[in-house]
Symmetry: C2
């Protein structure tokens, strides 16, 4: 057997262990919310982690990689496989096991402190563990040494190939434009009113309706599920088993509806990967940014479009006649598209969302570079927030303590969210160019043309192409934020009567 085939086979077991870990994690989030002890589960998870690490760092992998590198006849998939396997192997072998264990343990303890700190809105409870967590991530990045600057090394974990400089060059010119855009909209005298979204909506009915929506969006129920959890997420438990979760809030309709469409977008990506890649290292989204482009595309470009609501509004009225029977569709469309500075990232609108991300991106960088200290974060967060969004969080729970990411050691993750919006706009622009009738189809409840386009151009490839190659292959050019900026102008000026 050739070295690359041997590698593929060897990694099948690692992939299965990854899926098993995903299954245990999914079960924990969905089914164990009321459990008094997670000790048994956490030991199961760490056992699987240990087995993966052992298999991943074995000498055999190193030898097979060396042999495979000498092969001259690798096809595109095999080359990509070798690239990803080499990447995983290099990362895994560079960390001593003690550091792996310390990072894992710290992330559990830090997440615990973070939860308490957030609930009490008291940063001091979290500070010590966050300091430790930041130091461990710096140490880890130094050992990886993927890029000359360690923040880029961390970014690369989530957005392979991306660097700090590259992202800064993308974000910096957008920042003032977004700030101005938000101001301009909010200066309008014709602003939407979103109070309708904050009436009482039966959570069970919301869930039922969101289930109807994902079925129409071609979420495949033969290979997936929708459940409830405290924090919505998408997880693949096998190549043919992708599950999403939904959170419902009785007095905020957006949470369930757009959250579900968002996760459905992630799931459609995973469900669309071509069969040839099943159980290989290539059988997942190519980067967090591209993944987010899919979720945000369905959530915003489709789910928050007028045409989508022309089709769905009668169904919403049937589900919630007490609130919506006599409420005009046009006003609801405006309500779900209200643009206004707010404190919480996950509830932010399409426009201000990017500013929430830029804030985190800049703080992360300074933290990793040592320009600022953990203890300064709360105040810096608030003053930066004031600069970007014109408002100041009333407390730390709604400020620096709102996200779980840093406690988990996920530094360098945030920028991929905004990259996703930008990638999404560029891809969606291309989809519209090739299929101008898309919006007309939404009006009739047809969503498969867009999905077919995405499957053909994005989904099927899994991790074969890096994000930067993929965007060029699909749209003919590098990432270009202008598509996003044009999109928000075209969409929001009419809504705000500008």
């Amino acid at each position: 057997m050739s070295a690359i085939k041997e590698l593929r086979e060897y990694f099948e077991e690692i992939m299965r262990l990854n899926y098993i870990q995903a299954a245990l994690g999914w079960d924990q989030e969905v089914n164990m919310q009321n459990y008094k002890s997670l000790e048994g589960r956490s030991k199961q998870v760490s056992l699987i982690e240990k087995l993966i690490h052992k298999r991943l760092t074995s000498e055999k992998v190193g030898n097979l990689i060396k042999k495979a590198e000498k092969l001259s006849n690798l096809n595109e998939i095999e080359s990509a496989m070798l690239r990803e396997i080499t990447r995983e192997y290099n990362l895994a072998t560079k960390l001593p096991e003690e550091l792996v264990v310390e990072i894992a343990e710290t992330s559990i303890l830090a997440a615990k402190d973070w939860r308490e700190a957030r609930s009490k809105s008291d940063f001091s409870i979290f500070q010590e563990m966050l300091e430790k967590s930041v130091e461990l991530q710096k140490e880890r990045a130094r050992l990886y040494g993927t890029h000359p600057d360690i923040y880029s090394t961390l970014i690369d974990l989530y957005e392979p190939g991306a660097t700090y400089d590259w992202i800064a060059n993308v974000f910096n010119p957008i920042k003032p434009k977004l700030i101005d855009f938000v101001k301009k909209l909010n200066a309008s005298s014709d602003k939407p009113d979103d109070s309708i979204l904050k009436k009482s909506y039966d959570p069970d009915k919301q869930f039922e309706l969101s289930f109807e929506i994902i079925k129409k969006l071609n979420f495949n129920l033969g290979y997936g599920r929708q459940d409830r959890s405290t924090h919505p997420f998408t997880s693949s438990l096998a190549s043919l088993d992708t599950r999403i979760t939904t959170r419902t809030t009785e007095d905020y309709l957006n949470e369930c509806i757009f959250g579900t469409i968002h996760e459905c977008g992630h799931a459609l990506y995973e469900m669309g990967i071509r069969e040839e890649l099943y159980d290989t290292i290539l059988c997942e989204g190519t980067s967090m940014g591209i993944h987010e482009s899919q979720s945000r595309m369905w959530e915003n470009f489709v789910g928050r479009s007028k045409e989508f609501w022309i089709y769905w509004y009668p169904t919403f009225q049937k589900y919630f006649p007490e609130n919506l029977k006599d409420y005009p569709m046009e006003d609801l469309y405006k309500a779900i598209n209200i643009v206004q500075p707010s404190y919480i990232r996950v509830n932010a609108d399409e426009v201000t969302y990017g500013l929430h991300i830029i804030l985190r991106f800049e703080l992360e960088r300074d933290l990793i570079d040592g320009k600022i200290q953990v203890k300064e974060l709360p105040e810096l967060w608030n003053s930066k927030f004031e600069d970007l969004l014109g408002i100041t969080p009333p407390n730390y729970a709604q400020g620096v303590l709102q996200d779980i990411h840093w406690s988990m050691g996920a530094i360098g993750y945030f920028p991929t969210y905004f990259l996703g919006n930008l990638y999404g706009a560029q891809i969606y622009n291309d989809a519209l160019k090739k299929h101008p009738s898309l919006p007309e189809e939404y009006k009739k409840g047809e969503f498969s043309t867009l999905l077919d386009y995405l499957r053909e151009n994005i989904h099927q490839y899994g991790k074969i192409y890096r994000a930067s190659d993929l965007i060029k292959k699909v749209t003919g050019e590098d990432l270009n934020p202008d598509y996003f900026l044009k999109y928000i102008e075209n969409k929001f000026y009419p809504i705000y009567g500008i």
Copy 2:
């Protein structure tokens, strides 16, 4: 570290892998009923199986066992641990890996054929795979060689220490007594009418009510769950994570209510094992028979008692006023205790149940001994059924094809069900002797005295004592079927006005 401590530690990982396998199995039964492909999951399960087998049969275990056997200062728990580890090791190392794989694959294929055969009521579809399955079990038993006769070796897998002769000596004298007893009841002119149970009962409400019941029975929701599945079962996914499932049938109230109490009984056993045994090989029920004694005790001795219904009937009336508002409790009590020959084991009453088991027990033995052939089973089943229960199944689906066990290779399992009833009666008799007020407590919705008794005398020990030792320790005598016979006389004569 001493050899026994090393063994304990080494086996912790095997236990965790077992729990992981249980988690994957639970998820498959509960969450993947509509899935079009189980391939990914089945590969995950077989990977875990492989890892367990590898770890279990390693030379290290053999060496540690030898060392531990020489230790003179083992305490009771350590001795039991060594006994069970040795047993598992001996069994695992006696089978060549090819046979393990062949048995696993055959059981999947046979279960598939069995499902089709049952749905078409056509035994010929199943015959070939059943023949293969029987041969493989015989081969397996020969290799194990635990007992001189291979049927005893198979029985021993489920009821450690039990043999064919021992069970036959228990069952044989009961058989004619049960047959006579059923005839006597059915000759009465005052027979219960169970049509009330077959009215329409909203499945969701049934589930809700069954959930109320298990909470009252002290099922611990901090360490377990209740879900739905096609076939009800109980599974421990960790030492502190025991889950039960429930099946609801709209026009048969018994299915959900007594099925749930039954599974709850299994779960209470697992939940009551003492902390010292967590994550060890002793952390489960000591035999299938003792396990079944717990489930049947709660289901029948408690759940089908008049006192239980004195407490619960008002709640049932509240849930199902359309059927029960004006229906007398006394008649419902009689309805749930109707004794009549029927075709399906799992729906059989307390009295005829034993005859269903004896039928299977005798057929299994003859099959394994080569006295009868697989192809003769359907006709032999029917004629034996006529002898034991006085009726003949109208088709094979309601006859020889009704149970999944043989297709899975579980030959020797059936007798443990009836042993469970017998153990249960003997233990319950002891509980009543020590706590005569138990029935009075049920009337008030109090069920913790019985649970405390079971925890103290049965549950806490896990697998420390073999079934035969445990029953003697608890009740002061060996298994004695008279308690069961006395119980059914005392209970059913009054119901039937005899």
